[in-house]
Amino acid sequence: MINYFVKYYDKLIFALLEHLQIVFISLILSLVFAVILTFLCIYFNVLKKIMLSVTSMIYSVPSLAMFAILIPLTGLGKTTAIIVLVIYNQYLLLRNFLTGLHEVDYAIIEAATGMGMKKSQTLLFVQIPLAKKALFTGVRLALVSTIGIATIAASINAGGLGTILFDGLRTMNTSKIIWGSILSAGLAVVANYTLNYVENKFDKNR
């Protein structure tokens, strides 16, 4: 097993970097869309219910099926993988962002409004700072879920750590299976642990 790493470490590192690339691009795009959607939902209450139920419905579709649906439209490869990951993340991010902002004590929001803060100012100076922990939780969950689903994206030629894992499964190569698993699981665990640490720091300075 160690031999495999010594011999093919460049391949493993390439897969890891490719994986990180997919995750990074997906997460950035997801955040951009989720922030826009969150603002729209706050200003248009009707949209909130619709968006939450639509995204939750999409989230329940198995990822493999989702990839399959998109292949005729966007083909095999990274683009399709990233589209799917961004769509999935909308549920995790939107739900956490909206509940986080909603859970801020109503008396505080009323005081802010009563003093003459605009809706945008209340959001920026009061709700977002007070909800930052919940907002960050959303990002953490999205990151971990993206790392996981990105592994499956190897099945549509998106590259990443999943390639090694699937290769190993197809050829019954134990070393490949183990390295693929260790790296993708390890990545998720490390990412989760790190963000969790940051998240708990937020709690202290409240």
Binding site: D105, A107, I108, I109, E110, A111, A112, T113, G114, M115, G116, M117, K118, Q121, F125, V126, P129, L130, R206
Partner: protein, 255 residues
Amino acid sequence: MRNAIEFQNVRKKFEQAKGNAVDYVNLTINEGEFITILGSSGCGKTTLLKLINRLYDPDEGKIILFGENIKDVDAIKVRRRIGYVIQQVGLFPHMTIAENIATVPKLLKWDREKIDARVDELLYLVGLAPAEFKKRYPNQLSGGQQQRIGLARALAVDPKIMLLDEPFGAIDSINRLKLQDELLQIHGGLKKTFLFVTHDIDEAFKLGTRIMIMNEGKIIQFDTPEKIIKNPADGFVESLIASAREKEKFWEKFV
């Protein structure tokens, strides 16, 4: 003396409610008065207050502040001109005391030195030493101290009108009496128009230059404490006064 607040046939109804929360109310309040609004919960007193700073808009009628129909003024502008204190205080837990008090001055883009000086002045006014309290966070303060900050924050830009919605409702009775005295002093020193909502009769009679008694969205009686005691408008007011007297008798038993 100018009219500070005028209501002309004001009605407000909430969607799910049966009756009007505020039922065709007419009233005039002079500048510098300390009005207490007395009534049981659900009588419309808080709604009446929130109509003044446009947290609600009336379904009918006009509300005029210093000669200006507030419908014609941007709601944000109206609110920044009026001090607002609520029972739950609503201090921002992530901001220091100084930052909390500076909220409206910052929104109005005052310069820093002016804000600093004003924060100190206000902390003295509400009896808290600036050096000791400025940098603290709200959760490091007692309930009474928090409401003092709430009061200072509402007074920050020297509003002509102060709306106080049961500000001492959640404060223990010893601190409550102290705060009432201090509030009277603040009012006397500043010549502002205060509207103070309460369901505590003692508080209403102690603080008010005039008392507005409300029931089911209507003003039952609006007069000085003496005149209300001498000439209660109806059975409801009589029973209010009787209940206060009852309390007095209860205490006499122990003397």
